[in-house]
């Protein structure tokens, strides 16, 4: 239960993909007997749209998008899928040629005649497995960068709860010592949980309310943030208050480092706070609020790319200006309609 609260995004991604796996392997899928890869892809897209919880649920579509992309890559490796738009897909092409040349010629190339069962066994299920593995191991991959970013006795600022940031700090702790300041969100008490979890590992942790951000920012050397969604323009969506922290960090010339698994990459564009947002119940903000009190509360803060110094993902480190490259590797442009 605890992990479910702490990492809701990862949890929902993982759960949805496990559901997909169970669904396909239990042969509940309503597919024609001799369905092709394309049929599978269309079917998975449909499933994704059905599972998606509202327009602000980015994580289930993201992971399904990734599954489809892996299916595409795998099938093109095995020569099952004909690449139609060669010019659009230089990378895929290069990939395929490379792999095909290294592959022994004895590979079975039965083309479209392959039965749906075989496709499922050879491509779909392995693809799902691979994505699952990516999700499982994303934290370890990010942690490999941990030792390269801090110096001894540095003061780091973190906000809200993020398992990725927690793991990152713990792996950095192995080689050097530093001080952590945890900013507590005004609406949720996960900051306390975060401070406790960090404190258990003999880290020097200070918990402070959000309002104190300006006062303590002058002491901070680097800001570490988790993220809800990385957008294609290099901006991000995160818990409300992140924008203010990033603005402060820029004022004090403190670098903002964003840690995230690549499954948070969301191929969408935002331009202001209102593009992707949702008002929350006033009771969530002020439990004593009466009916005639007009409270405004939001779900996300959008942070423009100019406030972010670096993204560290399990696929490598990117600046906001270059993160679109990761998008084109990670997803196919065709799937952005999910």
């Amino acid at each position: 239960m605890n992990s479910q609260i702490a990492q809701p995004r990862l949890y929902s991604s993982k759960e949805s993909i496990l559901a997909l796996k169970a669904h396909l392997s239990a042969k509940q899928a309503k597919l024609p007997r001799n369905s092709t890869i394309e049929d599978y892809i269309i079917y998975i897209k449909k499933l994704s749209n059905r599972l998606k919880q509202g327009p602000l649920d980015f994580w289930i579509p993201n992971v399904f998008r990734r599954v489809i992309q892996v299916i595409r890559l795998m099938s093109s490796e095995q020569g099952l899928l004909q690449i139609k738009n060669k010019e659009n897909n230089f990378k895929d092409l290069a990939h395929t040629i490379q792999r095909q040349s290294s592959r022994s010629k004895t590979t079975v190339e039965t083309g479209t005649e392959t039965g749906s069962n075989e496709i499922q066994q050879n491509i779909i299920l392995p693809a799902i497995e691979q994505v699952l593995e990516e999700l499982e191991s994303h934290s370890d991959d990010i942690n490999t960068f941990a030792s390269t970013h801090f110096f001894t006795n540095e003061v780091l600022l973190v906000y809200e709860y993020s398992t990725t940031v927690l793991n990152f700090l713990l792996s950095a702790k192995k080689t050097r010592n530093f001080e952590i300041i945890v900013l507590e969100s005004e609406t949720e008490t996960l900051g306390k949980q975060f401070a406790t979890d960090l404190g258990k590992h003999q880290l020097n942790v200070t918990l402070t309310p959000f309002t104190n951000a300006y006062a303590i920012m002058q002491r901070v050397n680097k800001t570490l943030l988790g993220v809800d969604a990385i957008l294609k323009n290099g901006g991000l969506l995160m818990h409300p208050g992140t924008y203010a922290i990033c603005v402060l960090a820029k004022q004090f010339a403190v670098p903002v480092i964003v840690l995230s698994g690549a499954h948070k990459l969301t191929p969408k564009y935002a331009f202001d706070q209102t593009t992707f947002n949702e008002l929350v119940s006033p009771l969530k903000i002020n439990s004593n609020s009466s009916v005639d009190q007009m409270s405004i509360g939001i779900t996300f803060d959008y942070v423009p790319p100019e406030y972010i110094s670096l993204y560290i993902t399990n696929q490598g480190q990117y600046t906001p200006q270059s993160i679109y490259q990761l998008f084109s590797d990670f997803y196919d442009v065709k799937d952005e309609d999910i």
Binding site: E186, T196, T206, P209, Y243, V247, S289, M294, I296
Partner: protein
Amino acid sequence: MSEKPNQQNPKKGEPWKPKEKFDKKANKEKQKLEQEQTKTEAKQESKQEESNKIKQESNQTIQQQNIKQVQQQKKEEQPIVDKQNIVQKNEQKEQNKRQDFLSHLPIFQDYTSESIKSVKQIDPQTLHHSFVELCIQYQNGQCIGSTHRCVEFLNALKQFIKDYKLSRQSNYFAIAFVDELKKIFNLMKNFRTVNEGMSTSYLFINECLMILRRDTKLDENESKIWLCNQIDQFIQSKIISASELIIKNATQLIQEGTTILVYARSYLIENFIINYFKQGKQLTIFVVDNPQFGEGSQLVKRLQQQGISCYQILLSHVSYILSKVDKILVGASSMLCNGALVSRVGTALLACLASTHKIPFLVFCESYKFSEKSQIDSLSWNEIAQLQQVNENQQYTSLSLRYDITQSNYINMIVTEVGLIPATSVKAVIGEFKKYNYVDAIEVPRKDQ
């Protein structure tokens, strides 16, 4: 005198649990005192042994000298014991201090009406009940906000002056009261940091006492009445009429239909909004709340009582509405000489956001809150708010500040009773006021004869 607040506490209908807590605290303090006593007793015994030895030696000499010596020794003993006490108290204070980067900031203990008497500076017999009440109000947050605190302090002082009786040794009220005032001012430093308004009023009263001393024709009663009148006049001219002038200035400044954003609770801004709506003009108001102190919700409730509707929003959610806001108005705890603003924690964050969004940031401040200090960052001076009980198992330190410093480059204008001025001209205004003893020239009292 001292029992009054004790009787009052249960009358206010305090719940059972806090009382128990107070009892526990009192018990703890009793235990500490007992420990101290036993320690000092032990030391006294050892001292006595020494003195006995000396006695034995001195027995060999003349007895008359002996008696004198013992008397001298006894006189010497007591100050030594006192010093030891002081050292122990210092040690206790050090234990209360933080271990991290804020170890320079004082931590204020929670006092009950009983334990206040154990504070070093006070003589329990002379402590006036109005200050005991005031100190407790300061601590439990009943008396919050710089203007409120200053006015309450002056009212308590007036009460004290009325009840003050000259001791037989001193003849002049003005001379005796200067020391008394100093003691009280030092006492106030134990409960919350003394704010700028309070220290200005302290300087003013000192000035009044100086005048009284020069003009010694007034007798005790007359000088008391004169001093109380002066305090009333201070409140009237520097706080009440000043706020009226500021409201007048601001009403001319802010056009009808603007969207304003206010932070926490400032009496000036509250009165300004109420006054503005009474004139039949409309404003769209966003009230930014901080859950720690809950001042925003207090303001919203107060405005709703007056039939004014406003939106409430948290500081972290403010990014959503910033683009719709025309002006940001905040109150001040004090304005510093370098143009920096000392205000409720979070104001600086708001000012920083306002400057990135190019929203005018206005500070409402009476000129008696102007200070000759200057400060650059929020950590070198501040006050730690102890709002949560710390668990012993807690593996992290929690930190909650009361104030923060907003740099002058974030402030577009200060609205004062002397006009609309830029943040950097605080020093000039202070210079002007210093010529007139911080208020308008004080009228020297003449005895009608």
